[in-house]
Symmetry: C2
Subunit: 308 residues, 2 copies
């Protein structure tokens, strides 16, 4: 069986790909030189087998997703991904699993010029913790607390497919296993969005965080929610729950002033990402969900919580 | 049972204690403003129940140790601890456990002015991953690859007590559960040490990393190794293995030029930490362990590896 040090040498010591990495994997800590005038955005997420992914999930998808989740957090801050550290806990070393995991992880890292700069391998129940750091102009990070009454609410891509992937599998599985972090969109939203969050716990829960942090309310038109063609086909049978409360979409939900409509439309065209206006920020507190007739719908399940 | 969001609010949203934290816990990522002219040192470590600590280990000790291990890594780089993120995975929420865990964690964080700026709670086998970031003058971080032939080898504190704590318990247990990261020492070693590492896998293994990275060898005098009085009492019976190859000591091992002897002695006096000269860096490769007569001893077990 390969030793910890051999594994690190073989799989977890990527070549230096960024000039701001003074020292990467291999010392007690990495040494990084953030450019002057930049803030560092820092996020940490764990994916545990049995909770966030099935123990027999494809290893390349696990490698992809654990990084995608963190890059999505950086995107929601408007930060450019830079450095990542990885803590991988496994009951035993299966070389083929590690190799496939790294395939998924590094393919995504290369796409966004993120360098692995540190890691920790240990023995235990299968779980992956990724910490990602990104750079954003000082004081310009997108936050949850910036929404203002009068702004409009947008969401990128489509909602609910990941939840349907968990529930039904089939063609929806791809959305669950291979989420695409909206990095370019997050970067482009600086100066456009009032507030921004990524949809990881479900739209209602995540938009709810934005509203609470900003001290405002919102009206959301259920009929405006962007759904995939496949979801729309089964909508009558399966209902709106996946789109409203399903987790794991990793789309961005943001607010913007109505005078920004043309900017938002231009962004959508440029990035080839649907950006759909789903509602408006209001002065009152709370989130009101409206049906196609403008009637208020009851909001039952707020979103995903691990210990609820 | 308290929900994830309530737990985060109650235990994991500490007040802002550092002016360089623009945004702490509560958004998709923290936003941090490193001072100009500083490099960021970044490290990640996982402690998993059953591997790094017993499932019934005192929760306050687990909270202390998971942070201490990361601060020790920063100390070995000569970095001042600044920000920390925490990923805590638990099979279920036991409020008393979380409270005690936080007691140990925050007491140490306060001592070194470290702010928790992000976290992730999830359900799964008990494990804690801490990612710590520190600040060091640009280009001045202590590294493993800076040792030069002619320098001398030092180690702080005493060695082996943590390993004896695991093996025997009793009075040695404190060293195992409550390691003290050598933060002040690491900061003071900038400009004094050639290379530095923290002793987490055992002296021979960790010094071996320094030698390999630096392309040099070393001679270490076994009889010079600093032992506690309690260890010395049982030395004849238990032997040198705990001091040579025991992990979890979290002392610093560093090299310094002979002309720095008085500086090192002054540091030891100022910080009230024993700094013991245990050998010398040599031009050849490899580590030679010498007994009290200067004869070479066989080096059997190199240190702790998770998957060996």
């Amino acid at each position: 069986m390969p030793s910890e040090f051999n594994l690190i040498r073989e799989f977890f010591t990527p070549p230096n790909s960024r000039p701001d990495v003074r020292l990467g994997v291999g010392d007690d800590a990495a040494l990084l030189a953030p450019a002057a005038g930049k803030d560092v955005a820092l996020t940490i997420d764990t994916l545990a087998a049995g909770t966030h992914f099935a123990a027999d999930a494809p290893a390349d998808a696990v490698g992809h997703k654990c990084l995608a989740v963190s890059l999505s957090d950086l995107a929601a801050m408007g930060a450019a991904p830079a450095w990542v550290t990885l803590a991988l806990t496994m009951p035993r070393v299966e070389r083929a699993w590690v190799e496939a995991f790294c395939g998924g992880f590094y393919a995504l890292a290369r796409r966004f010029n993120v360098q692995l700069v540190g890691g920790d391998l240990s023995r235990g129940a299968l779980s992956v913790t990724v910490q990602a750091a990104g750079l954003v102009d000082a004081g310009r990070g997108l936050r949850r607390d910036g929404a203002c009454a009068g702004e409009e609410v947008y969401v990128s891509g489509v909602l609910g497919d990941a939840a349907l992937g968990l529930e039904r599998g089939g063609e929806f599985r791809r959305a669950l296993h291979w989420p695409q972090p909206r990095v370019e969109l997050g970067l482009a939203l600086a100066g456009v969005a009032g507030a921004c969050i990524d949809v990881s716990d479900g739209l209602l829960a995540d938009l709810g965080h934005v509203l609470r942090c900003s001290g405002v309310g919102a009206e959301v038109m259920r009929g405006a929610l962007p759904l995939s063609a496949a979801y729309r086909e089964i909508l009558a049978e399966t209902g709106w729950t996946a789109a409203l409360a399903g987790g794991d979409d990793y789309e961005l939900c943001f607010t913007a002033h109505p005078k920004r409509r043309t900017d938002v439309a231009a962004l959508a065209a440029e990035l080839k990402i649907p950006l759909t206006r789903i509602g408006a920020v209001t002065q009152g507190r709370g989130l009101r969900l409206l049906d196609e007739n403008g009637d208020v719908l009851p909001v039952a399940r707020a979103g995903y919580e691990h210990f609820s």
